[in-house]
Each structure stands twice: as C-alpha cells, then as structure tokens.
C-alpha cells in the first residue's frame, strides 16, 4: 500500500519536475513573480489607509490569483510535454510527426511568451487604458505573426515546385472565417455609428484598432498560405499542409478574433454616452472574446476530433 502510494507520488513528481526545470517554465515563473511584484507595488502606492483585515483579504486574493496563474503557466509551459502526443494524433508517419512536433513547440512557445508579455505590459501600468484580455490577446497575435514570418532560403541550381494553388480559404475552417468577418463587420458598423452619433474619439479608435488587427492578421495568413514550398514527397507535403492549416486557423484567425472582440468591447463601453445599449453589447463582446480565448487557450488542440485541420487546394 505504502509502496503504491510512494510510486504514484513519484510518478507525478517525475512528470512535473522536467516541466519545472524547462527554460519555458522558468521564464513563466519569473514572469509571474515579476507580474505579482508589479501588482503589489502598484497597490501599495495608494493603500496606506487600509485596515489589517483589508490587507489580509488582499493578500489572500493575491495568493489565489498567483497560484492560479502559476497553474496556468505550468500548463502552458508544458507545451513540449504533449506536443509529440498531439502530433501522433495528427500525423501518419515519423517524418510528419517530427515536423508537426517542431511546429507545435514553436507556435505554443511564441503564444506563451507573447501572452505573458502582454500581461506584464498590462501589469506595468496600462490597466487604466487597456484591459487584460486586450493586452494578452494582442501579445499572442503579435507573437503568432512573428512565429510564422520565417521563409526558406533560395537555393542555387536546379529547383522544382508543384503547380498548385494554395489560398487562405483552403486552410481556414468556415467557422473561423465567419468569426473574423463578423468581428471586422461589427467593428466597421461601430465606426460608422460612432461617427454618425458623435461618439468619443477613443470609442472610434478602439473599433478601428479591431479592424486593423483583423486586416493585419489576414495579411499574415496570406503570407503563410503562399510561403514557399519546393516539390517534396507526399508525406512532407501533408505535414506542411497540416502545419499551415493550424497556423492560419488556430494560430492566427482565432487570436485575431478574440483580440478584435476585446477591442470591440472597449469601443462599445465607450459608446455609452451616445448609445444606451453600448455597455451591454460590450459585455457580450468581452465574454465572447474571453470564451473564445478559453476554448483556444492551448491552440484548441483539445478539440481536434471535432474540428480537424482543413486542407483544400483551389
């Protein structure tokens, strides 16, 4: 009995320890400590008049938040622990698995660093102008675009390529495309309504920011679709198509959608002086964005069976 208890405890520790010592986990923990210190420093500046009970409550809440964040960070930092397992579910042979594992590690690391950087920016004093969802999601968007900005070197001498047409629509699921179009369309409507009703400049700016985010991410998606690919065998071609599909859909479209929704929510809140329903619509948009982030928090890889990556040529 004792032996089995020890062995189960040991196995948990064995799986956690490599994740804790991984550079990603160390960076995550350092970032969270930094974030917590920044929050404590800011709250301490104007908290001189707090009663002991308030301080205890504040510390308790802060402790719960920090523990929760460390849990999320460790889950996110464990990207390489299950990247191979996820690649196994997607790929048919070892070459495909290797390529997809590399892509997953790269994409998830970039998202993690981008999201954490956004949170740190928020904690460093931008709470009054930005909310956490905006900062985190913009960080993820920027990191995702940067992670997909690589390209192949041009070789000299003979080279070959397939005469095939790769488009964003071929790699993007209809649902993801509709979300992007809906957010961009809503932001456009808010800009027009804001101009007609004489809304504040910040409201219109937030809606324009949502439009620009969707537009820039769409350009990045086009770059990923048309990124060079020499003639390769069917196995590598399939793996490359899967990586492109994951990048264009889960990697770029969804972060752009929830970043756009977060900005749209801010815009709608700011509309309250000219549109009574603005705050309510803003809350709806914010929760839609937060829900989408939650569903896609690990690249939506938990829903692979329901939403398989799409690959189609024009």
């Amino acid at each position: 009995m004792r032996q089995s208890s020890d062995s189960s405890h040991g196995s948990v520790w064995d799986s956690v320890w490599p994740r804790l010592t991984h550079p990603a986990a160390r960076a995550a923990i350092a970032g969270i400590v930094f974030l917590s210190l920044a929050v404590v420093a800011r709250s301490g500046g104007d908290g001189g008049g707090r009663t002991p009970l308030e301080i205890v409550l504040l510390l308790a809440i802060l402790g719960v938040v920090v523990l929760g964040l460390i849990g999320i960070a460790l889950t996110l930092a464990g990207f390489d622990a299950d990247a191979g397992e996820i690649a196994d579910r997607l790929a048919d042979d070892p070459i495909q698995r290797r390529l997809l594992t590399r892509w997953l590690e790269r994409a998830r690391w970039a998202r993690f660093v981008g999201g954490l950087s956004g949170c740190i920016v928020w904690a460093l004093g931008f709470q009054t102008n930005f909310d956490l969802l905006v900062c985190g999601s913009v960080g993820i968007c920027v990191a995702a675009v940067l992670a997909e900005s690589h390209h192949l070197r041009r070789p000299n001498g003979p080279r070959a390529a397939r005469l095939e047409v790769r488009t964003v629509a071929g790699y993007l699921a209809v649902g993801d495309r509709r979300w992007m179009v809906a957010v961009a369309g809503s932001a456009g409507v808010v800009v027009v309504v804001g101009l007609v009703l004489g809304a504040s400049q910040s409201s219109i700016s937030w809606a324009i920011a949502a439009l620009v985010t969707i537009g820039l991410v769409h350009l990045a998606q086009r770059r990923v679709a048309s990124r060079g690919r020499p003639a390769v065998n069917e196995s590598l071609r399939r793996a490359d198509d899967l990586a492109r599909s994951l990048a264009i859909g889960r990697g770029l479209a969804r972060p752009a959608t929830y970043a756009g929704l977060a900005m749209l929510a801010r815009s709608l809140f700011e509309l309250r002086s000219v549109l009574a329903a603005g705050p309510f619509l803003g809350i709806v948009a914010w929760f839609c964005g937060a829900g989408l982030w939650w569903r896609n928090r690990r690249l939506g890889l938990g829903h692979l069976a329901d939403e398989p990556p799409q690959v189609a040529y024009a």
Partner: protein, 123 residues
C-alpha cells in the same frame, strides 16, 4: 504537375517556366479554366524573384494560353476553335525549323511526317 527550373542553364529561367506551362497546356495536363498559382506563391515555391514569374506569365498571356482575371487569379485560357493568324504564323515558323532539322539529319518527307504523327500521338 511538377515545374522545374535550373538557373545555371543558358536558357533564361522565365523561358523555362513558360515552356513547361505551355507544354502542360498543349498536352492537356492543364485543362482550360484550371487555376495557376499566384506570381508571389510560384516565385516563393521556386525560390525566384517575382519579376521572373511575372515575365513568364506575361509571355503566356501574350501567347493567349492563360488569362488574368483580377481577384479570381490566373487561369488557363479556352482553346480557340479556329487558330488565330499569329498562331498560324507560329505554326509555319515551327514547320520551317522542323524541315531545316530534317534536311540536316538527311530525313525525307515521309520520315518527317511519320515523326510528326508519332509526336502528335504521344503528346
């Protein structure tokens, strides 16, 4: 459909691209209405400058083998029912070149016609 080019060859790369696509169209490998990749994508796939592919597409367009349809991309053009005047002229030039080669190698008219029929059946 694999397209291959070699920048070390004497023939310009845009001519290599044009020749291969022309061959694919004439043999039916690329059917009328089939979409071709964008200039940016094909240039990236082959590791070439965009201008090189643009030049090849311009020549193919002037040959009336492809059509550019704005946002709908570049497609293989429909084959005309009656050969155009420039196509007839091009055919005459090719026939003259064939006759020159035939005389150089000592082939008679029957051998040339046989070779032509064989090529026609093969492609």
């Amino acid at each position: 459909m694999i397209l291959s080019v070699d920048s070390t060859r004497a023939l310009p790369v845009y001519e290599q691209v044009r020749d291969q696509i022309r061959r694919m169209v004439s043999t039916g490998t690329l059917a009328p209405g089939a979409r071709l990749p964008t200039i940016r994508q094909l240039a990236a796939d082959l590791g070439l400058a965009k201008g090189t592919i643009e030049r090849a597409y311009e020549l193919l367009e002037s040959d009336r083998l492809i059509e550019r349809r704005g946002r709908n991309g570049t497609v293989v053009a429909d084959r005309p029912d009656v050969p155009t005047a420039s196509a007839v002229r091009e055919l005459g030039d090719a026939a003259e070149r064939l006759v020159v080669v035939a005389r150089q190698v000592g082939a008679d008219e029957e051998a040339v016609v046989a070779a032509l029929r064989q090529a026609w059946a093969t492609l």
